[in-house]
């Protein structure tokens, strides 16, 4: 187990212990909810794991790099920003996917823009957002999010 995983697990264990001593039934409820969502997540995790395996195992890094690598330029950046916008993937799984792309020759900016558009912009939730918050608000928030996702990625590419 790597240090980060140990840190995360101890962090949550601490929360669990505090919660348990404060209220046993609430804690029991929380573990039930957690177990249910883990089971629900498992098929998607397996799908992603298989796809990552195929991507990294079969596609040569040069191919991936050509589309979304350092030399792909604006086209590659826009391509992956749009991919992140339309993809409907649970946000927790965005990070392993991002790591696998980075491993296979994608540029840091591409990976950063993918995560940001994937998490911040919701095409699937857009109708609900329009219905509740108004068309103008929803379109502005999602539209500007697309632009700032690219800005964040470009700055990250420059500083890291």
């Amino acid at each position: 187990m790597n240090p980060t995983a140990i840190f995360i697990n101890s962090f949550v264990l601490l929360f669990l212990i505090v919660s348990f001593f404060k209220d046993k039934s609430k804690t029991k409820n929380a573990t039930k909810v957690a177990l249910k969502s883990l089971l629900k997540m498992l098929p998607v995790v397996l799908i992603i794991v298989i796809l990552i395996g195929l991507l990294l195992g079969l596609a040569p890094p040069e191919t991936i790099s050509k589309f979304i690598g350092e030399q792909s330029g604006w086209g590659g950046l826009l391509l992956i920003a749009i991919l992140g916008t339309v993809a409907h993937i649970p946000s927790l799984l965005a990070f392993p996917i991002a790591a696998s792309l980075l491993d296979s020759g994608a540029a840091l900016t591409s990976v950063a823009v993918f995560i940001t558009t994937l998490t911040m912009i919701g095409i699937v939730t857009l109708p609900l957002e329009i219905q509740l918050m108004g068309k103008k608000f929803a379109l502005l928030r999602n539209g500007i999010s697309f632009i700032i996702a690219i800005l964040i990625a470009l700055i990250m590419g420059a500083v890291i």
Binding site: V33, S37, V45, G53, A98, M133
Partner: protein, 175 residues
């Protein structure tokens, strides 16, 4: 209402299983066509599966714990109406608490709007809910490292605050 969401969840569960079956089939076919690649494909898949399973149980547990301890009422109560620095910081913190998926946040955002919260705060709150969630940051830390996570977090906070202010201005101009 509750039954409808349950039905929808069951349907989504089925869809995921069908998707898994489909992907697994493709996986097997591709491995049959390229037998020499199969060990490297399996290695990669197993590596990522292990990495995910090291932290995902803890992450969903954390989300479950927050769900039972922090109710929507608490979020509503503490969200401020002014977009002062304090108001913005509170919006980020409340949005970042792992209390549910994005579609839960919109009704909450509407309630905040009706309560009189500023547009800046609402935009920051929704954006924080979407992409500054504590479980997400932990998974990002695990897979992309502390530096990547920290820099992206800082930039996201800065830019969503600016975005909130812009949307508030635009909202005022045209009513």
């Amino acid at each position: 209402m509750k039954n409808a969401t349950k039905d929808k969840q069951a349907k989504e569960g089925r869809k995921n299983l069908i998707g898994l079956g489909f992907v697994a089939l493709i996986f097997l076919i591709i491995l049959k066509i390229f037998p020499e690649k199969s060990s490297s494909v399996m290695d990669v898949s197993l590596f990522y599966f292990k990495e995910m399973m090291l932290i995902f149980p803890a992450i969903v547990l954390l989300m479950g714990l927050f769900m039972v301890w922090i109710s929507k009422d608490i979020v509503l109560k503490y969200m401020g109406t002014t977009s002062s620095l304090k108001g913005i910081i509170i919006s980020i913190i409340l949005g970042a608490l792992p209390t549910g998926p994005l579609y839960v946040a919109f009704p909450l955002a509407l309630a905040l709007k009706n309560k009189g919260a500023s547009i800046t705060n609402i935009v920051v709150f929704l954006s924080a809910w979407a992409c500054i969630k504590i479980p997400q940051e932990l998974v990002e830390f695990q897979f992309l490292g502390l530096k990547f996570m920290a820099v992206r977090l800082a930039l996201t906070i800065i830019f969503v605050t600016i975005m909130g202010m812009i949307i508030e201005k635009l909202n005022k101009v045209t009513g």
